[in-house]
Amino acid sequence: MSTKIGEIVESNCTEFTAECYELHAIPPLGSLVKVTAPTIEIFGIVCHSGTASIEPGRHPVARGKDETSEEAVYQSSPQLMKLLRSEFQVLVVGHSIDRKIYQYLPSKPAHIHAFVQVCSPEEIKQFSQSFDFLSILVNNRSQIPVEEVMAASLREMSKAQTDPHAFLVAGGKALTIILSGEYHRLKTILARLKQ
């Protein structure tokens, strides 16, 4: 059973933003996360994340001049743990109903305050049997280049596979078809897949 790492604070059909329960406990870029609702599980790929002040007007200031390590800064100012928060954005790439996975957008967005979990290797394996989710990613306008997200998602998923190389080759082939006519974009992604 996967453990929850945060909950949704902003949501729409194509993406959602979640706040982490623990400061800095952000899932890696490209990792597969899921939101479980009574009848549906929504899958997404982490496409952006960051840590900032909880109040937009209060900018954090440097505090470590006299400290020996980053850890010491937090120890001497324990309130920081409450004044800062880590958030991550997730692009929705699919959902499952009755355990059947569909790699296209769900009919409704995830609820605010719904729990977000990192998928287990088994779930990743099951989800990554198809590469249709890549075509959702490719057309998305995320804040960081989508090529980075796509490469990161394949790299992350490959860690759960028994033969990561074969998985990356198969993923690369799927990308080649999606990005036909965009050879340079394809090359950029492939360069980021190499092990």
Binding site: K173, T176, S180, Y183, L193
Partner: protein, 539 residues
């Protein structure tokens, strides 16, 4: 991994009846395993197609890849692009089709009149597929070789083959002689026809030459002594070579007719008028015209003779010079005791195959003179016999296959109408006589005659005109051209035409090893035949 039969090679993506189909190669099949000339089956929705791979190409989905290809050290990118952005494609020419319903199975393979539907699967043809198309070795079918890169036996229906004139072509040294020997054995074993072979280079009767090998290889008479007779024009040469000849051919001057001289006009360098004079001299002197013409030496006699016939003196001198060349041939004599034509016919009637060796007389004048003379008379006899048979009184004569070498000398545009071979090729089987033409310059053979050849077997040809002439009128000519031009210089040939359901590139079966001889002679000895008969009778 080697590509296996029945492995999916790819799918049909485009196509037309005229140009053939384009098959996108599956990424699991290596383009380097494919070869032109290979057979494939295409599983259409309603019917199966048999086709030949006639071209293999590399494609890219994006031209950018060709401009900035992945680095050679970048195996990962190359692996990903292979089969997706870069792919192999096959050009397949569908040739036969079998409908999937019961009627289609009974009818067997039919010529292609449509193309397989989009995304039909393409597989390498299996042995069973090939057998379905070309049949098994049986009483009428002779095993001539294996299709390229396959172990299947390619069998030719020789009953069908000998019904029409056929041709064997190829550059010098590509294995025409071997193929011819094979085919002659086939005709001898599996068809009712007999062979008459004008053997210019002494290769078919007794031990033949074997390029690149030591010593000679066995030929027809050694393998089938009871079915083959060797006739020779040069007794001495045959004796030196240790050939056991059956008959020494001698030709009398009185057997030479004006038509025989007319054919040699070019080789003897005769003028039109000189040839015209021959006909007049024949009318004047009758049967012994040649002897009598050569005998006239007195100037007055010549003048009187020429004045009477209105022949110019220079033409006569030209003719006499030509006739003197012929007279020098040692096998010619004023009168031959035994008629060579009758003897040959006698042997042929008994079902024997006759090989006429030319010994040292390998010049084209001799070959043309003798081959034409004998063939014309033999053909006349066959014509008479067939006409009598048509009247319903007797059975028609056994079909005869006449083998001639250097065929373009007989069948070129200028003299094809005059030689008997031109007539045989055109009139074909009406009189049960057909030709087996062997040549290295098919482009020099008259187009009309080339078009009458039923089955053509061709080894490697590299002259553009020769290739065009051999493939003239064949369906998918341009595709076959690629296959033909890529045959190995030795021991590979392409066969197409009447006797085969579809063109096929093949490797002729072995010749020259003890095992091959045994296989050829198997079933030929009377004891074995008797055993087989008994077996058939009592099961």
């Amino acid at each position: 991994m080697e590509t296996q039969p029945n492995q999916n090679l790819g799918i049909v993506v485009t196509g037309s009846v005229e140009k053939g189909t384009e098959v996108r190669l599956d990424s699991s099949a290596s383009v380097e395993d494919m070869v032109v000339g290979r057979y494939v089956t295409i599983e259409g929705k309603k019917r199966r197609f048999f086709g030949m791979v006639t071209d293999i190409s590399l494609g890219v989905t994006d031209e950018e890849i060709t401009i900035s290809p992945p680095d050679t050290s970048d195996a990962f990118t190359a692996e990903i692009l292979e089969g997706t952005a870069t792919y192999g494609s096959l050009h397949v020419l569908p040739m036969l089709t079998i409908a999937g319903d019961a009627k289609g199975i009974i009818e067997g393979p039919q010529p292609v009149k449509t193309v397989p539907s989009h995304f039909s699967q393409v597989k390498l043809a299996s042995e069973a597929d090939m057998e379905q198309v070309f049949g098994k070795e049986d009483a009428a079918r002779f095993f001539i070789g294996n299709p390229l890169d396959m172990e299947t036996k390619l069998c030719l229906n020789l009953e069908e083959l000998v019904k029409r004139s056929n041709g064997i072509f190829g550059k010098s040294g590509t294995g025409k002689t071997f193929l011819t020997r094979l085919l002659l054995i086939g005709i001898l074993q599996k068809s009712k026809a007999t062979n008459l072979i004008f053997d210019m280079h002494n290769e078919y009767g007794w031990a033949g030459s074997f390029e690149g090998g030591k010593g000679g290889v066995k030929a027809l008479k050694q393998l089938f002594p009871s079915k083959v007779a060797v006739f020779t024009l040069d007794e001495e040469n045959s004796r030196h070579r240790g050939v056991s000849t059956d008959f020494v051919v001698r030709i009398g001057y009185d057997e030479i007719e004006p038509e025989d001289i007319a054919l040699l006009r070019q080789t003897l360098n005769l003028t039109e008028q000189a040839v015209e004079a021959v006909y007049q001299l024949k009318r004047h002197f009758g049967k012994g015209w040649m002897q009598k013409t050569l005998d006239i030496s007195d100037a007055d006699d010549v003048e009187t003779l020429l004045q009477g016939m209105n022949i110019h003196e220079s033409s006569f001198a030209n003719l006499k010079r030509g006739l003197a060349t012929i007279r020098r041939l040692p096998f010619l004599m004023p009168h031959a005791q035994i008629n060579a034509v009758d003897t040959i016919l006698g042997y042929l009637d008994r079902g024997m195959n006759v090989v006429l060796e030319f010994g040292r007389h390998r010049d084209i004048t001799t070959y043309m003179l003798v081959a034409n003379m004998l063939a014309r008379r033999i053909y006349q006899r066959y014509q008479e016999k067939t006409e009598v048979a048509m009247a319903g009184k007797v059975t028609p004569p056994t079909p005869l296959v006449i083998t001639i070498e250097e065929a373009h000398k007989f069948l070129n545009h200028e003299i094809a109408n005059q030689t008997i071979f031109g007539e045989i090729a055109r009139e074909m089987r009406k009189y049960n006589v057909t030709l087996l033409v062997i040549d290295q310059r098919p482009s020099a053979i008259d187009e009309e005659i080339m078009s009458q050849l039923g089955t053509k077997i061709t080894c490697l040809l590299d002259n553009e005109r020769d290739i065009d002439s051999v493939l003239a009128g064949v369906n998918g000519k341009n595709d076959l051209k690629t296959v033909l031009a890529r045959l190995a210089p030795k021991q590979q040939a392409l066969i197409f035409g009447h006797a085969v359901p579809m063109p096929v590139a093949f490797r002729p079966r072995d010749w020259g090893t003890a095992k091959s001889y045994e296989e050829f002679s198997r079933g030929d000895s009377p004891e074995k035949k008797a055993e087989k008969d008994i077996e058939e009778l009592f099961g």
